[in-house]
Symmetry: D2
Subunit: 417 residues, 4 copies
């Protein structure tokens, strides 16, 4: 049971779950290496959360939904329920999201002590209890924590990028645009959605039929070199390429390149990464673009975004995110090789995030996990360099509003056959 | 050829088109009866437009897209292009939408003179030219004008409702909740979208296959009596019934009933209509609710909203909006009878407004008509009491953001079979 | 008793007051010549009010504060109290100021009928009753109406300037910068504030002592030619000339010239007037500048703004606004001659609008007239081309926030002796 | 020369200045005792600054205005000029004020290292150089740092008060309302403003004449017990007591008590202090009220706020702030004794913050220190418990916008004799 991917496999036993628990929890802390207490308390915009809050909220999830109801412990500190509930209306009032960055107290040290306490209480409980209910809730809690691992990285990147003092990274060799191939699919009556066995979020099911017309989908994501051509061809100043809402947003916020790109004194495009600033590499997948930008690019290229059903159908036997994360995370951007099958950037689709046919959320507060966000968001598929190993799968539905750019989000184009 | 519904029928000849043109244009003016110049110039919120602007913009459409390119005339006044272009980016800069209400000049009288001029130039051109291009563009222009007829009514209603002086209408007899039946549908591989022959907007096609699971759909829209039960049962104060964005919007704007409803000194619910204020009638279809409210209601009722494919499939042989509009418009609300098959309120669906497979917008500025709005909006199907006769059809896709309430919008519930 | 100046003179009898009443009321209506109902209902920003509202509110003042309490009549229409109260908290809730432009009803014709009714009721009352109370309240009501005459002009100018269709006026001959002289004042213990006898607003008193150091004040306002030099010398882009709040406002709103100025295709500066657009005339007093701009100009010129005590002391025997208004109003801008002693533009001072020593507002709602605005505003002295004849005097204190520009506001510089 | 008050005395030599420098700088650091790095980096609203920023900015002031121009050193780190310039436009672009809380880097440790470096460089320079220019600039830098000492305390108090976890302090005995006496002043021609000799800010001069009418001023500030009576008498819900802007602000922000007061479950009023939450003590001076509230209170009490000239004239021989600060600071609120002559809370006046006659700001960037803020602010006189020992004097002019509440601000009433 050495890695977290096995953790969510079908055969997993309760004892293996304890090892998985430890691995996921440790990995969260490992991601904070190099950050000081100042870095971990500040909130850079209402959409992001401080690192310290992520550390606390993921512990709260275990305490609130597992330890207290299943007899594994009591509330650690009065009032923390209020501070670290993210959005569960059923649990009563909570600290307003845009004010998470005002919580200088409890200080980091106390939050870390709480984490240690939760870890030990959970491990103790997992030793004593191997009920299906505990297993299911623990898997949910770990998957939830893995989602926050990615958010922790996107959020800290956004914060550090606000600092006007920009360190330069050692400049890497620059690549060229890799070749592009098309995957053909004949369409027809297909099945999509998660199968039974193995963990999946509720929004990935029920598995159901969809009818697809024949289509083609690219064998790799769009790369920076292609994006630079789009920019050079006036992509950001040609309204006919854009959806109306996208154009309005791009004008209001002055978009002229992906988030974190800026023009250096040498007139080249540079990008801010967690390792410092580096020239944009044409060979790497474009990242930190909104769905609005992705849609405009696809139109410019004479293509379109795939629907989520097309993506899942075409990619389900090709998608293998493999070992991501870890030391690699600080090195984003990163290069593609010709055999890339995704997993470096989340890929925007043309699909709105809506419930699958016959979808029903769970009863109680846990039912607020996914269902209540099914409005105003678009689906992303795949995984990114910031996604924890083992956390994604072909049926995984990530979702963000179409203007969101601070995630590790890119695109793959498609076209009618 | 006496009515506009014939206008958009298949067999229509170019000479019939002239009569249809006159009928549609006259009907627009007829809708302004009872309005003074003050009522026609003010804009009540950024989403609405002044009546005078609707009168001018619909004329501009014929001048700009037909008369000038097809040799039927010149620009009437310099600068009016800038004032009365609605949203066509391809045509250059235009007057900002939220500032339409600042255009006290040209005064109403000049706009009416322009309308008369356009009418006569168009009728002249239709006599001389029976090319398919002119026919197609004229049908588009008339359908466009019919859309604005409905908007003119929704917008003037919104404006007049802002006035704190509320006239009382003669009180109508109050009905009771009509009985509700369910229409069964076995699902399977279905075809949806407009067929060739007859006018349809580009967003209604291409016709294509969808796979549907078996479902049931109600045989009438939700009525006020049912909505009052939802309210009495805490519908507006129970977050678990609501989508997250919907709940946030309802709290921010203090929703506790449909738009235009208010509680009288007698504690009963009243509603503002274009004929004055009247008690809410339990027998009438609920109107002026957002998609967020419709979705919450459906969840409360143990049902759901239908998808647009379900709606179209189930309703295509039952939908017959019949003679709407005219004198009836000022009398909204209105009663349902048991045989109601829609057509009194637009019905929110569970579907995001997205392009159909293989959809392509037209070339040029006219291509901005529908395609560029395919983001952030939800589909409504059917027609309302404010829809011009002959303007709707089973494949018609109306669309608004999920929080919009000032349209004549209600709902019909569905459920899995 | 033919003119309104006599109206507010000491000797005025009650019968003379009737003639003055008629003269002031008629003049208000005369100012609306050339405006259509559309022009009179729209509100161009929250600070301005529609013409129709001005017409109604000035009638409401007579009805509410005179006719009803003194037995001259009843409320004309129920609910109008709510609509046309401007800001008197003591009178209960009222229609929100930024929503005055949504009141398309009552229509203009009804407001005019109300005015006629009020006029006749007031004239009747003035014939029957010559009590000092009625005289005092009528003088207040007429002075109030005169204030609204000026606001009506500034507000309609602001509205018409929003229209992108800009008519050109016949171009007037352009003058040159007139010569400037300095008036010397030795300072010392002076008296300022209104004297007893004759009408004055409560904020002009009590008359009191101030100590002034010796100073000099210019013998004419700053003119456009001087302002163009300030602009050419980088006045709008040199932060050291500006107060901090002024600089922030200028940047936020992109100020680079007075309000209503714009650069024509011929690169010259033009200005919008109520008669159409004309080239800026160097000989005319600069107008439509904020106190922030006036202060920056004075600093640039090596001078300063006068305090209100300096202005009143130096100007009290030189100030004679003379016949303003009437046909001249539509011709603003206007020329200065060498002997100008003010009265064409209001002149910003360096003084905050604060109560004079021992100032006490009147009891009751009428006490809200002036006192409650003594925060955040700066004093202007003099009069403008839009000020009604006879309405101003040397002790008159006009006041607006330092960023306000839509008044007919200029400046006169001063310096230490 | 042991204390900082001597530091700013007339006789002070350059060697004494070194001791004063060390004392002031050390005191700043002492104020941060008990704060963690998280507390010191977060910004609670745009008006406040993080503690770390205060620590850095006060060092920047010495580096930029003294060490670099007078040959005492070079810039410590490139880019920090941009980060830690507060508002000097003459020095070029700077980090936006509302984004100071996003500067997680440089971390606290680096800022502290910089402080140590600046201290040693300044002490070295003061040993070598005893020019009047160095003395004057050092005195300015120290006075500037003392101002930031008070701001550091007000800002950290505001931040910690945002935390929903409210610690309770040991409850102190509660006092009663102390007796109130009136100080009589006959008025006449008075002199105000700083005298030559001793340090003073430029805005405290030039010394000049003012004419005062006879007046009375209270012999102590208003206390909490009196404020509770104002509240019980509907002070916060009676518009006639308020200035128009004040009423609008109070409604918009829901004021019903001073800032930091809240009603406990025992229905008593409590207040947040830097030592924890405690019941409001009727004997203590009221604190954390805006000028709008102070003005409303004075009107309710049948009094008024004094002008700054009245305050200075009446208090100049009674004002002795004495030893403030230090251990006492965490204990605010605090009690008054009968002999109180001010110095515990800043006292709002009725005077707008405007230049004295013949005031001229210094040349260059340093001239931006006080002059450019002379708009939209009101003067406070005296000193507070958070004011450093020796920092205030009778001519001292503190200033904030009339709605500001997060300073230690109270009031003293006056009335016409």
């Amino acid at each position: 049971m050495p890695d977290a991917y096995a953790m969510i496999s079908e055969e997993e036993s309760a004892s293996g779950l304890g090892a998985a628990f430890r691995a996921v929890r440790d990995r969260t802390l490992a991601l904070t290496a190099g950050l000081g207490p100042e870095d971990m308390v500040v909130q850079s915009m209402p959409d992001t959360s401080p690192t310290k809050w992520h550390l606390a909220h993921t512990s709260w999830f275990f305490e609130h939904f597992i330890l207290i109801p299943l007899g594994g412990g009591k509330m650690w500190r009065p009032g923390w329920d209020y501070l670290f509930n993210s959005y569960y209306e059923a649990l009563g009032p909570r600290h307003p999201r845009p004010a998470r960055g005002l919580l200088t107290r409890p200080p980091l040290a106390e939050v870390l002590a709480w984490r240690a306490h939760i870890d030990s209480a959970m491990e103790d409980l997992l030793t004593r209890d191997n009920s299906p209910e505990l297993t299911a809730l623990t898997l949910l809690g770990l998957s939830h924590e893995q989602q926050h691992q990615e958010l922790l990285l996107t959020d800290i990147k956004h914060l550090l990028a606000q600092n006007p003092l920009r360190p330069l990274a050692a400049t890497a060799p620059r690549g060229t645009i890799p070749s592009l191939g098309w995957i053909d699919h004949p369409g027809g009556l297909m099945e999509v959605g998660c199968r039974s066995g193995g963990f999946a979020f509720d929004n990935e099911g029920p598995r159901h039929h969809v009818w697809l017309a024949p289509f083609q989908i690219a064998d790799r994501p769009v790369c920076n070199g292609e994006w630079l051509r789009f920019m050079a061809d006036g992509g950001y100043s040609t309204p006919s390429l854009w959806l109306s809402d996208g154009w309005a947003r791009a004008q209001a916020e002055g978009w002229e390149a992906p988030l974190y790109w800026y023009q250096g004194e040498d007139d080249r495009w540079w990008t801010f990464t967690l390792e410092g600033c580096r020239p944009v590499d044409p060979a790497e997948p474009v990242c930190h673009v909104s769905q609005f930008e992705a849609d405009a690019f696809a139109r410019w290229a004479g293509t379109r975004l795939p629907t989520e059903a097309e993506w899942e159908t075409a990619m389900q036997h090709r998608f293998n995110p493999g070992p991501a994360f870890g030391s690699a995370i600080r090195r984003h951007p990163f290069s593609m090789n010709g055999a890339d099958a995704g997993g470096q950037v989340w890929e925007w689709t043309a699909s709105a995030y809506l419930p699958y046919p016959a979808y029903r959320p769970a009863e109680g507060a846990i039912g607020e996990y996914n269902g209540k966000f099914m409005s105003g968001q678009m689906v992303l598929r795949g995984a990114s360099i910031a996604t924890p190993p083992g956390h994604s799968r072909p049926s995984y539905r990530n979702f963000f509003p179409p203007h969101a750019r601070w995630q590790f989000s890119g695109l793959r184009v498609a076209r009618d056959a």
